[in-house]
Symmetry: C2
């Protein structure tokens, strides 16, 4: 650390230089985060001092958190759901599986997740000391429930279903998973980190949330398609009792117990989530999702013109494209400023069509990918 | 979720109402967080879109993180230290102990912590499935190293020392812990979440960091006495190899591996930490710590006038006061707007003298506590 500090002007100029090296979201087709809504930014700054780890000091922010949980519970089919705002999908998934583990009290616990589950479940395996069994997918990249059933044994403590898989944007057959969970007395966690703010606003209706009997917990992230600021993940439980195994005594705070994984917690992100949900309402989110789906269709129609097919008809605003010479094409697109991503199995080009994109920019993308593919040797 | 959204004005008015229920920091003597420095707020907003979970998109913010780690490494006695900005002290402590656990590969691992350790170690015990053994303290509330040695067995994987204990603001004899760790081939983690931005700036010098051979990792939080925004914890390792057991493959991001516990991570808090450290420098932090210590002395001198003694002469800006009729006095002070806290064993009034306080407000506090104590029946 320098002995003498720099002036504010000098510091701000260093920040400006660093900022120039960041990627503007304009040509990013690989991210599940996006620009937060302006009202989220405003709320974030207003509540920047709030620490929800010591919520007795910040009872106003704490009330906003309870309201956000109610709003998201209602969106997920149960306005009585309990939970809290986490640092993100990973903390939500950790805490859901931790509760399941602590309730089941098995010596060598395992959980069954789709092979399409987010890599946070690999962190969870290591962290919590549980075995992760990966179930295969059907030809539409939904979990194969026969495969799930075959992996369950006496040490299985939970099943996981995905509503909006990271790679394919696919929705597992949650109703069938729920029947399997109920008949085996298993905890059922739904990872809707991305899909939670998309699926309820699609024209086609899918059952994936607490409206299905047997669903125990849901991950749903305001800081992805909820258009809120980082860090705002959501963890919802069907029963308040699922929160009890997470409680730790907090002797010297204004509260007696803490249920979160993090201690100090951003109240700013909670206020931001509240603000954007109250401002947009269902109609506002529907408009945003409609626009993303329309842009998704634009891409799929555009690339079909040059002979490229999606692996499945997109369910939401995530596309997996069967692009020839994938690495080469991605490299050339990258040289033109485009950030694309991949799926693992099968290998394909993965695109996430977020609100920061526009029809104009996507026309440019289609033109660039078409020209790269047509010039492949 | 409402069908129709509210106007921005309506939302902002709801936020204002919630904000009024929060406690201004003015009379808070119980918190280890404080108002962030104005330059931290500015940097936070400028980098609010950055997600360090996908740092290939935000290479500028990633560079700031590396600089912050270098600055804090230098402050902690090793500018070559490695690490990352966590969500807070709890994540830092989890990840340090997780690495120790994964390196040791014991079937029934245990760690030895001072009984004064933060409650996050109780979370860690549950999360990581390790036994936490609590060593006793000496009469100055520093860990008793004989007690530590007696608790070590073949399954011990790590020792923890505290530099700035939550309750007493005390510093464990890290040099002696380091000798014990080295002779038993144990990982040694130092929790300086609070003390890391205090101890280097005290007039009296203490050895507690990487300058002592045998220290493996340090928790040091910018969002406490570092005056940065939430969420900014710090985790530093002596060797880069300590990060490897934390790595998870990240197939669809702009990076290949992730070492953090959280996935999506606030780049805003990292930029804020960088800005405030560059702006204050050692001299700036020294001024702030000097002022907090002077206020600490004011309190101790003031309450001594009415016969109240501190349990120990304060080492830093944390005071434990032997107040008669503690619950009653705290309740009456609370009615006058004061937030105080407690220590567990022995039970005492705990005060944290943070930069948001002032001599004027503390004179008022001394006058209030004096009058409450003198009127005790």
């Amino acid at each position: 650390m320098n002995q003498k500090g720099l002036t504010p002007g000098e510091v701000l100029s260093l920040l400006d230089n660093a900022g120039l090296k960041n990627t503007p979201y304009e040509k990013v087709l690989s991210a599940m985060c996006t620009k937060p809504h302006p009202i989220a930014l405003k709320a974030h700054m207003q509540f920047i001092e709030s620490n929800l780890g010591d919520s007795g000091l910040f009872t106003g922010t704490k009330e906003l958190e309870e309201k956000v949980i109610n709003i998201m519970g209602d969106l997920m089919g149960d306005s009585q759901a309990c939970g809290y705002i986490t640092t993100g999908g990973t903390e939500s998934n950790i805490q859901a599986i931790r509760t399941a583990r602590n309730l089941a009290k098995k010596k060598h616990p395992n959980i069954v997740v789709p092979v399409s589950a987010h890599f946070s479940f690999d962190k969870i395996a290591d962290l919590l000391g549980i075995e992760i069994r990966k179930a295969g997918l059907d030809n539409q990249f939904r979990v194969d429930t026969d495969s799930v059933e075959n992996l369950i044994d006496d040490n299985t403590i939970a099943l996981v279903g995905i509503a909006g898989s990271t790679e394919f944007g696919q929705i597992d057959p949650i109703d069938r998973l729920a029947r399997i969970a109920l008949s085996n007395d298993l905890f059922l966690h739904i990872d809707a980190a991305f899909g939670g703010f998309v699926i309820p606003f699609l024209d086609k209706k899918y059952d994936f949330d607490f409206s299905i009997k047997g669903v125990s917990s849901i991950t749903i992230d305001p800081h992805k398609m909820g258009l809120s600021t980082i860090p705002a993940g959501g963890l919802l439980f069907k029963e308040e009792s699922y929160l009890f195994p997470l409680e730790i005594d907090t002797p010297y705070l204004t509260i007696r117990k803490q249920r979160s994984l993090a201690g100090t917690r951003s109240g700013a992100a909670v206020a931001a989530a509240y603000a954007v949900m109250m401002h947009l309402g269902r109609e506002g989110y529907k408009r945003i999702v409609d626009r993303c789906i329309k842009m998704t269709d634009t891409i799929v129609d555009g690339v079909r013109e040059c002979g490229v097919q999606p692996l499945i008809d997109p369910v939401m605003n995530i596309i997996a494209l069967d692009v020839p010479d994938l690495d080469e094409v991605r490299k050339k697109l990258r040289a033109k400023g485009w950030f694309t991503s991949i799926t693992r199995d099968p290998s394909a080009m993965r695109l996430v069509i977020m609100p920061h994109l526009s029809e104009e920019i996507l026309e440019l993308f289609i033109s660039d990918i078409t020209s790269e593919i047509s010039t492949l040797s």
